[in-house]
Subunit: 112 residues, 2 copies
Amino acid sequence: MIKETSSNASNRKFLRSACRITGALEILSGRWKALTLIHISEGKNRFSLLKQVLPTVSDQVLGRLLRELEADGLIGKTIIPEVPVRVDYSLTDKGAAVLPILEELAEWYDKR
Amino acid sequence: MIKETSSNASNRKFLRSACRITGALEILSGRWKALTLIHISEGKNRFSLLKQVLPTVSDQVLGRLLRELEADGLIGKTIIPEVPVRVDYSLTDKGAAVLPILEELAEWYDKR
DNA sequence: TGAGAGTTACTCACAAAAAAATGAGTGGTA
DNA sequence: TACCACTCATTTTTTTGTGAGTAACTCTCA
């Protein structure tokens, strides 16, 4: 009998069709994503403010992180043409809606 | 000013102390973990049964997956000395408790 | 009686792929 | 010169998948 192919990419495809939770976990499980969402919800809504609260994250990593969160529809950005330019980030409805679920996960994890 | 070191390992450490959700996401975000928990909860509670429902997952990956879920306290195993040997897996209380939260995540994700 | 094939449930070492981090540099001010 | 908010290419680290093999036992065929 011929062994099914199971490359990384085809496994991912299978998983997406087999499991409803996959999509959610894929966009939340990047290393800094949950923490960044929380910080933005607490008013750390600019690149430089996030740098302060995430001191071990480099500029480059922070930039990519914000791009990904935006691409996944969790945050939005507003460019304010001040001098120097200012960019504000904010949670979208979708981003805000996931925070209580993340809190439940944290409580689940803490218990015992 | 001295730049904080930000190696992979030290970032992980920082993250664990800074963010309560990190631990939960770390143990849930392995590729096959959520789906495997669901299958076990639905009675696919043996190595060979899981192989049937996860046809693209190799024996080796499945073995490692089960070891990790067990190490993280999400599943337990019972060895039954039949012939040939039989091993039953089951969700722990902790494993069972996370399923409703995963369902919420799936609903959140589905909503556009 | 015994050789070989088959079963379940794995493990180890290694390779490939993906995720995360780093080095260097950009554009538009003041 | 300095600040803010980035981007690109490359390296390092982690995660995921593969190839080969194990233990203990039963079953079949000669």
